[in-house]
Amino acid sequence: MNIYLPIAEMSANLFLFIGMGASVGFLSGMFGVGGGFLMTPLLIFTGVPSAVAVGTEAAQIVASSVSGALAQYRRRNIDFKMGTILLTGGIVGSVFGVEAVKALRRAGQFDLFVIISYVTMLGVIGSLMMIESINALRQLKSGVAPASRQRGQHNWVHRLPFKMRFHRSKLYISALPPLVLGVFVGFLAAIMGVGGGFIMVPAMIYLLKVPTNVVVGTSLFQITFVTAATTILHATQNQTVDATLALLLIVGGVIGAQFGAIAGQRLRGEQLRFLLAGIVLLVALRLAWSLVVHPGELFSLTPLGRP
């Protein structure tokens, strides 16, 4: 059954998109990741214009993170003070990101920009995860306990000005690092159609030393509101949010995530990370390939909005 997507201006099978939502939802449920970094490239491979893929994916992330954020709120796992600073930065970053998308689209370079960003990001993260999980698997085999993380050590973050007390996180640190982190993640959300959890969570743990139980809730809180703002900004500035497509992806995504979560409980953390790293690297390679290989057709047409 074909459906016409009003903003992407393409006709495709209804079940293709629901299926894509379900597969990425399954993976995100299994690995506990947002899935935006997989869905956006997948949408681009399907022929959805990259700007529409990015704008629409923001809306899907709202749906997939709101329930998690609520669950964390009920468990009081959100540091609202830290979250508000991250969110403020996030919205500033998103505004810049959406403007960047607008300018790059006008210049005809947005596709290139998105692909290069993805290849870089996925390549680096995939490689790091791959190395880390291989080491973990080796240690597991040799029976050596992994070195426990040192807490409470002071690093450069603690020497910055504008110090604030974050009661929930039991931290007394400068407001600048979370603000800058928020801006960066918000910018990524707007230009790549990702939530940015894969950057924010490690940064909060290793850089800001936020306790792990607060990290997930606080980052979900930030992601929900930043992607909501990004959706509205993309809709207003670029008209690249396809509500129909978003709804299909959401429906597939929530179902897939439930099954993914069940499957994820049966696999060990190290194996999961190894698998995820493999998927991330494959997507990066596939994207890089599309830049390097001779395109059969050198020309492309972009419709301009209504006169």
Binding site: I7, S11, S65, Q109, A235, L301, T302
Partner: protein, 312 residues
């Protein structure tokens, strides 16, 4: 720009030429009774001449160009489309359209005589677009040049009784904008420094890409006569077609000469939820964005409610 100007210029020249020809051949046309047959050979004898003296006087259509023998009424073409208004809904997966028409005062004996050539052109509403060209920069394929068109038919389909080069000369085809080489396109004024070769390259790219998406199509034997005067042709419109007003032009040729044209319209409209979503997104982008977020939030919360209840 140049295309348009050349277009109307050629029509004007053609019309002027025809007028001169008329004046030379029939200096007193319409005032004096037809003079005795001129010294040239009489009109080609047709087997069953449809008794012209009995035929009622046909009003001379303004499009009719070539003067004919005094005894034969002029041919004219009329046509219509199977559906004048097509609604694009969410499940739109393309549509088929039949164009049918008739040649008034047809002089051909049967459908197979091949005396007439009919060319049908359906063109969609003109749209603006940017064409971009990639080239290899340091190993990466990157868009390096672009040109803007201010008007390109969003859809363009030609169907004819024979290949176009057998129907009429390039000059005639060009003046009517028939054929992929003569699709009326206007470049943005920033393209005025392009060379003729570059213009051709960009035009060809637009035609090639549109043909790949089946938005431009040609059927060289698509028009079939069903009798002495009746003809029909089928067209298909892919799902990606841009909505708007479409113009269907029917051209009647005999011996490479354009005898008559007829124009009819059809409309492709968005309808249903589809229409609403598109209008809403462009007319009220802020509220559209807010609504999309609300839908996403609602869907996410509904899902967690449903699945958590199942678990409990």
């Amino acid at each position: 720009m140049g295309v348009r100007a050349g277009h109307s210029g050629t029509i004007a020249a053609l019309a002027a030429g025809l007028l001169t020809a008329c004046a030379l051949l029939w200096p007193a046309v319409g005032q004096t009774p037809p003079p005795p047959l001129p010294p040239q050979p009489p009109t080609v004898p047709l087997q069953p001449v449809p008794a012209p003296q009995i035929a009622p006087p046909t009003p001379v259509a303004p499009e009719v160009r070539a003067p004919e023998g005094p005894s034969l009424p002029r041919e004219a073409v009329h046509a219509d489309v199977s559906t004048r208004r097509i609604a694009v809904t969410s499940t739109f997966s393309g549509t088929g359209i039949i164009v049918f028409g008739a040649v008034d005062n047809s002089r051909q004996a049967s459908a197979e005589s091949g005396l007439y050539d009919v060319v049908i052109v359906i063109s969609g509403a003109p749209s603006r677009l940017v064409a971009r060209k990639k080239s290899n920069v340091g190993g990466l394929w990157i868009n390096t040049s672009s040109t803007t068109f201010t008007s390109v038919p969003s859809y363009y389909a030609i169907s004819s009784t024979r290949p176009l080069d057998e129907v009429a000369s390039d000059d005639v085809l060009k003046s009517s904008g028939i054929g992929f080489d003569f699709v009326p396109m206007t470049f943005h004024r920033s393209a005025r420094n392009l060379t003729a070769d570059e213009i051709r390259e960009w035009r060809d790219a637009v035609v090639r890409l549109k043909r790949r998406d089946r938005l431009y199509q040609q059927d060289e034997y698509g028009v079939a006569f069903v009798g002495r005067s009746l003809f029909r042709s089928a067209f298909d419109m892919p799902a990606t077609v841009t909505v708007g007003a479409f113009e269907t032009r029917v051209y009647l040729f005999r011996d490479g000469e354009l005898l008559s044209t007829y124009t009819t319209k059809l409309d492709l409209e968005r309808e249903g939820l589809e229409h609403f979503v598109h209008r809403f997104a462009f007319d009220h982008p802020f509220f559209y964005g807010v609504l999309t977020v609300l839908i996403a939030v609602g869907a996410g919360m509904l899902a967690s409610y449903v699945f958590n209840r199942n678990k409990a």
